[in-house]
């Protein structure tokens, strides 16, 4: 029984010698407690730091900003940050007198598919790492990276990166592959909080929460554990901890078992995420509405624009797009024509209806060009405007509330709090795990504080 404990340290835990010393202390404590630690590290520091991933990427992009680097080469470059960090961490452990060895993702046996920039782990060949542990080494593994199968006919042994939250994903996957007793995610906060502590001074640390809750919190914008890591831990039932490198606080235990005192709904936290734009299209024809809507979805999909908070009414379709994609969405939709053929010629002799999308004054350049061109077919077709109204600068505030669909009242409580504070609610969304409210971005800080006070401090 090797009693393996995977310990992952993020960028701020390894950015300076004194921070690394604290991180190394956590590893030594684990060893002294009888565990066989396997360390996973992120690149040193965050954006702007000399070996941070963003800094390395900039080196490539600066060569010619007009020519994007190839994904394969980009992954090789991005992987360098973790390699440097791993070597530094392993050497630091050696200076403390411990046998340690730095391993790239590939050397640790992490095999991924060949989707560069967002690869998925398909296999971990753990024999080598287990051998090293048996020999008394503390393996220090690069987070965020793997390689394609060296025996594959294409892209054999190419370095890949796992995308956002990749180091957490590495830690969870190694925990599963090595049958670890636990995975500890070390960061600069002492666990999963009920709200962003930068916004809410009274945010408290949760002692325990479920995999589903932490995945939901992460998906809804809190930077605790990446949801992929939580999902791997959940699927393989690996106990997960979120702890601080900089304190001895016990952290948050993430587990499959819901606390015994919890019956029905359980409130876990408040998160906020995203800069969004809310678009509402008036489609005043029930018979054709579904066809027109499908063309909107199709156009957004072709442009790679994700839409969410989709809402129907008998005469409208509303949805959100990320703000950085809104100019593209607007340019595609304004002036777009959706022809719908009639099943039979109507009493006015019209064969079809042409729906043309029109954004508000000043944003309707394409419409103003396209609309006159349709005049020539008006004899045979109905031309119907689809006016678009837009709310810019929105954001989503979410309350993580497992079980809210079986217990009444949470939506009333939240809406009342926001409404009484004069905070506009443009739209809502809910899933089994959360309730979200689309509000003006300028109100996000106030809304989070208000809801935290109402739901967690009262």
């Amino acid at each position: 029984m090797m009693n393996i404990l995977v310990q992952k340290f993020g960028g701020t835990s390894v950015d300076r010698a004194e921070h690394r010393a604290l991180a190394v202390r956590k590893v030594i404590q684990a060893r002294e407690a009888g565990f066989s630690p396997v360390v996973v590290v992120s690149a040193i520091g965050r954006a702007g730091a000399p070996y941070a991933t963003d800094t390395l990427v900039k080196v490539l992009k600066d060569i010619d900003p007009q020519v994007p680097p190839a994904p394969r080469e980009m992954d090789m470059m991005m992987a360098c940050g973790e390699i440097i960090s791993t070597v530094v961490f392993a050497h630091t452990l050696q200076t403390f007198g411990f046998k340690s060895i730095a391993l790239s993702g590939g050397q640790a046996g992490i095999i991924t598919d060949d989707v560069f920039g967002n690869a998925r782990i398909v296999e971990i060949r753990s024999n080598y790492i287990l051998e090293l542990i048996a020999q008394g080494y503390i393996p220090v593994v690069c987070g965020f990276q793997g390689t394609t199968d060296p025996s594959a006919s294409t892209e054999h042994g190419a370095i890949t990166t796992l995308g956002r939250g990749g180091s957490d994903t590495t830690a969870s996957a190694l925990g599963a592959a090595l049958n670890a007793v636990g995975v500890e995610i070390y960061t600069d906060v002492d666990g999963v909080k009920t709200a962003d502590p930068d916004l809410v001074s009274k945010a408290r640390t949760l002692d325990v929460c479920s995999y589903e809750e932490v995945a939901e919190i992460a998906h809804q914008g809190a930077k605790v554990v990446h949801p992929r890591a939580a999902e791997i831990a959940m699927d393989h039932n690996i106990p997960l901890w979120v702890k601080s490198t900089f304190s001895e606080a016990p952290g948050t235990r993430i587990t499959s078992t819901v606390p015994a005192e919890t019956v029905g709904r359980r409130l876990t936290g408040i998160t906020h995420t995203g800069k969004m734009v809310y678009i509402r299209l008036e489609i005043d024809n029930a018979e054709h509405k579904q066809q027109v809507e499908r063309e909107v979805y199709r156009m957004m999909a072709r442009a790679g624009i994700n839409i969410f908070l989709v809402t129907f009414s008998p005469t409208s379709l509303s949805f959100c797009v990320p703000r950085n994609r809104y100019p593209v969405a607007r340019d595609l939709l304004d002036g777009m024509v959706v022809p719908v053929q009639h099943t039979e010629v109507d009493t006015d002799g019209k064969l079809a209806t042409y729906y043309i999308f029109k954004f508000s004054e000043g944003l309707d350049l394409a419409y103003s060009v396209q609309r006159p061109l349709l005049a020539s077919v008006e004899k045979f077709t109905d031309i119907v405007d689809v006016p678009a109204t837009v709310v810019e600068s929105c954001t989503m505030v979410s309350v993580i509330a497992a079980g809210h669909r079986s217990v009444s009242g949470i939506i009333a409580t939240i809406y009342e709090a926001l409404s009484n504070a004069g905070i506009a609610v443009y739209q809502t969304a809910d899933s089994e795990m959360s309730v979200s409210f689309l509000i003006p971005e300028s109100e996000v800080d106030r809304a989070v504080r208000l809801l935290h006070a109402k739901l967690f401090e009262d």
Partner: protein
């Protein structure tokens, strides 16, 4: 409603399959859902009436989901079993409500749904092919939820399974029925 479990099979030691599949991996169909359209107007009293809708249903002990704000109405869903209770509570509070019953909530599951392009159009095309009118949708990071007529649910299931290449074991059914009197 239980979250669908992702099947994970362990290969021999040293060869483990880890992550969830990209894209759609499961379908859940909840039968017996009711959908209410509640008029709230668009005058200065709109906010107060919306609040009255939520507090009325909360006091009546009716959990709601798929809540959506419209210009002159709030729409929401609840289980068919709560239909009588909801109708009585809303009506007695002077709220004008129209309830549609015999609906199915079709939930399409995918890991990181909001990072995927084109799922919504694929769903809309499938439902259109199934002759299923979409009464409302909802979405989260791991699902798109579509409220359709129960009579079209079986056809919708067939179309969606074909579209997303889902095996029968990836489809889960729930029943929350018992209609209004």
């Amino acid at each position: 409603m239980a979250a669908s479990a992702q099947s994970t099979s362990f290969l021999p030691p040293g060869h483990v399959s880890f992550e969830r599949e990209r894209g759609v991996y499961a379908l859940e169909i909840m039968r017996g859902v009711a959908h209410a359209v509640i008029e709230v107007g668009e005058d200065a009293g709109r906010n107060g009436r919306i609040l009255r809708v939520f507090s009325t249903l909360a006091s009546a002990g009716v959990p709601v989901f798929l809540v959506k704000m419209h210009r002159t109405a709030v729409t929401l869903a609840f289980t068919g079993a709560d239909c009588d209770k909801a109708l009585a509570a809303l009506s007695s509070n002077g709220l004008k409500v129209d309830i549609r019953q015999k609906l199915s909530l079709v939930i399409v599951r995918a890991a990181s749904m909001r990072d995927l392009h084109g799922v919504m159009v694929a769903i809309a095309d499938s439902l259109f092919a199934a002759g299923a009118r979409l009464h409302e949708t909802g979405d989260s990071h791991n699902s798109v939820q579509c409220l359709i007529d129960e009579s079209r649910a079986a056809e919708a299931e067939r179309e969606l399974c074909a579209r997303f290449d889902l095996p029968p074991e990836a489809v889960h059914h729930f029943d929350v029925a018992t209609e209004c009197a």
